[in-house]
Every structure is written in structure tokens, then in C-alpha cells.
Subunit: 306 residues, 3 copies
């Protein structure tokens, strides 16, 4: 396995063996995330966020600083050279002179891949279009592994918007490498994209459902996502759907005692705030896991860890 | 006195003894502010500014870098997760995973306190609503101590908008711990808030005035604030008031020779620019003092200084 | 030659001897730009960008981080204290308390000079109005020196908008110190400003042209700039002009074999993308050279290099 110099564009570019290795390195980053380290001293990360994302941007920056490096970048497309009409290929070929690695978020699918074709430094896809968010998938896997002790053998349910949420697409592909059973719970209009569904069905058992009730009692992991109002032409339809996929104390009263609830965040109200206090809630721990997973990726592709 | 892990929300959370200790530590930071230090190496400050404030944000960041730490954050509410509808409690519980300490500025009173209730890492209030700005009060006290050699025994005048200016509220509470005489000079409609006035009157002599003339000759410290046009329904009223509270060379011709003029900045024209050249002017020195005071606070609450 | 504490406002403030020395120090920065250094550890750069410029801002920040320092600042005028009505002199006198050196970009000519008058820390002009961009001129000279092995004796052509482009003004002044022949190729309405033209004509041979054809075959360096649509009252005129100054493979088929094409970037379409693959293209290398040149300037004015 060679990670040095490699781009992180799609979770599908990695084998299961490689993913397992990344998770192992992430684990070894836990003490460094608390104490700090000089592993990437003198190295610079550029964060090019053409679409805002406080969470992902700050997570990458924190990971870099905790390894002793530094971060530069921008957080909006409404800026400078892009406004002046520069294309992405040029922006990337400029910025790679400033930085040792580039994390990019872009509203268009394929943008990160295009950037990687032009750049000589490694590119990390920090979310592109509705398609891919590979570092989120890796931190989700790391969270499941850390909280449940394993991934193989679990029953995992995705709940909410499975059509437009890029994190569920990347995570579905990732989970298809493992021996899991996947339950997809969503309103009719927000069902998992066809191409993802077909690809993962070849490898693992997948069931589509519209009701939470049947799924909660058997799930080891409930992975909840936001349902966005904008996705519904009819507001009344939105209000109805919204209620049916909300995780409350009552929902969880039927859950396995040791099941965990995850969410890529930000949440609006698809998880009731009283759930935060239950032992099921692990969504804020996911955030910490995002730091150590990104530390692992940065250390690996910059060659600081073999 | 224990500072490690403590939140800095209101100046009223501190005793006089504690404030004096912070000022002492601030003094010991002066050489480190010039040369730099590794005291907070590996530590990260997150600045969450839901309301813009170049000055305060850069001051916190500079303090952190001078101690060898790093800073991440955002400078506008118009950003990412907040736009997506995330509430403050969630934002804080996410960001505390990225950082060892959080400085927050927010347009709503009580926001910093709420953040502190949810966060496990220490929260520093960088200004919330019109109510509190505790680090500004501490740097103001430090400036008075440094420039006058003492705080006890001084006659101090506040001039301008005492109703909406959060710095004067925090500073009034802070000064009420000391043996000072306070003169409050403002137009009728911008008088000091009732609740602040009542609280401090129990502890120190306070006089409200509408004219500068009587106050200038007896004051050791003139603390001037901006009078904002938006506060006046009638622009003519604003123009009249504005002129009467302006500090000019003429105003200062009647001042004590060793009196000092302070201002939380930015100023618009409530202090004439020719005053900058006089020995009274100390408002740019306040800025430097803000760095050392914030270095002291960061070092104390992160446990690098006992 | 003394650089410590010096402002970098106009290229005309430097002698040829000084410029040659800066280029020499830039060369010595090449290995540090790759490996990182602790030369400016504990030092802070403030970037005050009142006009957006991703490229220049990130270049300064990267230069500072590569030397072990840190960077703070803002990237838009729409921010905090400026919104509140603060003037530039006050902003600079505040920010110099936070930083050891300030890089400023401002839409108004003279802004950087004014800042330097008020600040005690060194000011670097990161572009002010349409007039000056001295660090760009230095990195352009460094690129020519590095790519051609010399500056004296070369034939250099400027192509495009020579009226509003600040980089060509600074570079023209800089080149007038050397033994070069300058060809100015532009549409009638975008000819080089009179005052620049007169100043440089006293020192070096300068020819104004409206056609590229005659100039390409004799030039050692083609320095291309953007022609902005907004400059033309008549869109039809713009379309015509635009085509005539575009560098394509066909244009370059008549060029000297070892001629180089430079561009301050961002480009829109004044250089066809197929030119990127030719050995003439050096515009992305310019970006790297910007880092080492700015590292040299920071090290010199902060006294880390004599």
C-alpha cells in the first residue's frame, strides 16, 4: 500500500485493505490529537472551499495544526480570482505552489477529480456536488469501528434524505466492502440514487423501507440525515415527511440497548435534542473522530506515516 | 484562585483579587508579546464571530500565535452550518472538538453564557449583545494601571453612548471593585442603563452629567465612546449631540496635565485627530494592552500559567 | 544597504543594486520554500486586503508560514471596523500592535504610502489602485533572471492592457534599471500611461505597437495581461480587440525557440490553454517565484537576513 502523494477523491478509489489501514492509522492519531505533534511541521494545507462549510473546513485546519503544520485558504467562491473569471484548473495550478496538499469543496460533481488531474500535489475531496464526501465516509466508518468494536456483522440503517445527501452515498459505497446489512429508510421522493443502490446491492444485502418503525428495533447503527425543505415542491408534504423520520426518545424506546445514533451534522430537528443525553447519541463524538481521521489522511498522503 | 478550565463570560464572575491577579499575569506577558513564546504550542483557539469584529478577532488570534498556539474560526454568521439552521448549542459542541478554547462574539445577550453551558472547553465572551465585553474591561483596567500606576483613588469619566456600548457596562462593573469616583457624561437618551447604574452605585460614588465641561478638569481618565447616528430618530438631534461630546485640543486645554484619554476603538470623530499627538492620548496603546491581557487569559484558562 | 524596518511601497524606492540583492536573497530562499524554516518563528504578518485577491494574499501567507511565522488578517473591506467608519490611519495604528509587518491591498492609489506614514512596523504594498504592485514586479524580475539567466540584453514585450494593469507599471519602472528593449503592444485605448512611458523612455529604448505580429519573433519575454471587458464602452470593440492580443500556438509558431511567456494571473482567455503545454509557458512557475521573492522581502525587512 502506497499512500504518499495520493489523491483522496472517491471512497471507491480505495480497497477494503486500504480503508482498514487508514482506520488503524486514525486510531494511532488519538494521542497526538490531544497533545499536538510536529509531524507535519513546515507543511501547508490549502483549503479551497467554493461552497461554505465551516465544519469540514475547520476540521481539516485543526487536523493540520495538531500535526504542527499550517493552513491557508478561502471559504467562499465570491472571491478574487474566481470572480475575475479564472477556471478551476488554473486556480489549482496556482495554489499548488503555495501548499503541500489541497482540500477542495465544490458545488459541482467531478470538480475534485478535475482538480486532481491538474495538480501535482495531492488533492483531498472535501465534498463535491451531491456525489461524494470520502473523508466523511472514513470518519463514519472509524466511528462505527470505535463505538461498536467492529463493522462486519452489523445491521445499519440510513434515515432521511438518501438522494441529495452526499455523505450517505460515500458511506454506502464504503460499507459495501464490509459484511453488513443495510436498511434505507426515506420518503419516496428522497430514495437512494439508483446508481448507488445498484452498485452496493451486488455486494451486500440492502432493503429499502419507508417506515422507521420496523427498522429501529433491529438496527445496530442509525445513520440520520437532514431532510431539507427545499427538496419538496409542496410544503405540506414536507411537514408530513419531516415528522415521520424524526428520532425521539419514543423512537429509541424500541431500539436495541447498545444501538448508536450517528448524524453528519449540522442537524436541524431530525434528532430531538433530548436524545443528546442518551447513551445512543454519538454524533458529537463523530466530530472528534473527523479530526483523527483527517490527521491520518494528511500524515499518510504527505508521507509522514508509511 | 483557580483559572484552569474556567469560562470568561462576565466581569462580574470575578472577584477583585482575581482581577488583580489577571492584571499581574498580563504584565508578565509583555516580554513574550514582543519575542514570542512556546507556552501554548499545540493548542488551538477557535474564534466564532457571529458578528464581525476585526479588532477583537485579530487581537485574540495574535495573542494565541504569540504564545505558540494556532487559531481557526469564522468571521461572519453568514456561513455554512449556521445558514443551514444549526443552533448555537450544536455549533459549540461541534467546535469544541476542534479547539482547546473558544472565543465567541454574538449579537444576542446571553449567547456566550449559553455556549459555556454546553461546551466542555473554556468559552471566552468576545462581546455579546449590548451587555458584556469582559476582556475589553480587563484590558482597560490594565491600561489604567499601567499608565497611572494605580486604579484606586482615581476620578474616571465615561463619555458618549453609555446605553448601547457594551464596553462601558463591563468596565463600570469592573471599576466598582475599586476605590474610584465615576462620572457619566452622555446625552439624555444615551444615559447609562438603569440596572448597571444601580448595581455600581451601591459600591462607588457615581455622578451622571450631561456636560463635558465640568468633568474634564477633574478627571484622571477620560473614557470616550462612539455615538452612533443610528441611535437617533432625528438626525438634527444627532448633529447637535455629536458636537458636544467631541474631545478636541480645546477640550483638553482644561484637563489635568497627566490625565489620559482612552477609547475602545474604532473611533469615528468623537476624538479629533490632533489629539493623537498629545501626551493624553493612550487609545492606541490600549490595543497593545489588549494583546497582553488576552495572552494572560489564554495562558491562565489553558493551565499554562498557575 | 539596509532593509530592516523598511517599507516596500513602490519599486521606485529601490536602486538597481538593492533590487539585485533582493533577487539574490530570493534565490537563497528556494530550499527553505521546499523544506520550511524557523527563520521568522514568533513573528506575525497581518494581511489587510481591502480589495479581494486570493492569489496575493495566499502567497504572502504561505511565505510567512514557510519561514515559521504566522499570519492574521482580513480579506474584504466589508468588515468590522471599516464598516463602522474607521479611517485607514487608525486601522493601521491598531493593527501594527498585532503584527510585526503588514501587507496591504487597497483600491485607492496612495493608500499603502499613507499606511506607511502612520505605521511604525514595515508596510508592504500588496497592490494599490492601478498604480503600483512592487512585489509582483520583483517576482517578475526574479522569474526572468531564473528562466533566462539574465535580464540585461533582453527584448521584452508587454501585451494587453497597459493602462489599468498595475503590474505592468511597476514592472516597467523596474525594467528601466536594466539594459533592456521594451515593446508595448496594446489597443489604442489601453496604451501605457503617459507618466510611466515618459519616465522609462529616459532610460531605456521603448516602442509602442498595436500589432503583436511584428513583436513576437524578436521578443525574449512576452508579458501578457488581461484585457477586461469593463474597460470598453462598446462590446463589439472589445470582441475585436480581445482576439487580436490572444496568445495561441499559432502566435508562438513565429516566436524565438527559447522565448518565454509570462502572465501575472488570473488569466481569462488571453493565453489559449494549449499554450500551457509548450516550453514557452512559465506563468505557473511565476507563482512559485512569488513565494520565494516574498520570503526574501519578509526576511529582509524583519532583519532575519542582512
Amino acid at each position: 500500500m502506497e499512500f504518499k502523494g495520493r489523491d483522496i477523491i472517491s471512497i471507491r478509489d480505495f480497497s477494503r485493505e486500504e480503508i482498514d489501514y487508514i482506520l488503524e492509522i486514525a486510531k494511532s492519531m488519538e494521542p497526538l490529537a490531544s497533545k499536538g505533534s510536529d509531524m507535519l511541521k513546515g507543511k501547508i494545507l490549502a483549503t479551497l472551499f467554493f461552497e461554505p462549510s465551516t465544519r469540514t473546513r475547520l476540521s481539516f485546519e485543526a487536523a493540520m495544526y495538531k500535526l504542527g503544520g499550517a493552513a491557508i485558504g478561502f471559504a467562499e467562491a465570491e472571491i478574487a480570482s474566481v470572480k475575475k473569471g479564472e477556471n478551476l484548473a488554473d486556480t489549482v495550478r496556482v495554489v499548488e505552489n503555495y501548499a503541500d496538499v489541497i482540500a477542495i469543496r465544490h458545488p459541482l460533481e467531478g470538480a475534485a477529480r478535475l482538480a486532481a488531474e491538474f495538480a501535482e500535489v495531492p488533492i483531498i475531496n472535501g465534498g463535491s456536488g451531491a456525489e461524494e464526501h470520502p473523508t466523511q465516509a472514513l470518519l463514519d466508518l472509524y466511528t462505527i469501528m470505535k463505538e461498536k468494536g467492529k463493522i462486519d456483522g452489523l445491521k445499519i440503517a440510513f434515515v432521511g434524505d438518501l438522494r441529495y445527501g452526499r455523505t450517505v452515498h460515500s458511506l454506502a459505497y464504503a460499507l459495501s466492502y464490509y459484511d453488513v446489512e443495510l436498511h434505507l429508510v426515506s420518503p419516496e421522493s428522497l430514495k437512494m440514487r439508483r446508481e448507488v443502490l445498484e452498485a452496493i446491492k451486488e455486494k451486500i444485502p440492502v432493503k429499502e423501507e419507508t417506515s422507521l418503525e420496523k427498522v429501529v428495533p433491529i438496527s445496530d447503527v442509525l445513520y440520520v440525515t437532514r431532510i431539507q425543505k427545499e427538496r419538496f415542491p409542496d410544503p405540506a408534504e414536507y411537514m408530513k415527511v419531516k415528522g415521520s423520520y424524526k428520532i425521539t426518545l419514543e423512537t429509541l424506546s424500541k431500539a436495541k440497548k447498545d444501538s448508536i445514533v450517528l448524524h453528519p451534522l449540522p442537524r436541524v430537528d431530525e434528532i430531538a435534542s433530548e436524545v443528546d443525553q442518551t447513551p445512543h447519541a454519538r454524533y458529537f463524538k463523530q466530530v472528534w473522530n473527523g479530526i483523527v481521521t483527517r490527521m491520518a489522511l494528511l500524515a499518510l498522503i504527505l508521507g509522514a506515516v508509511k
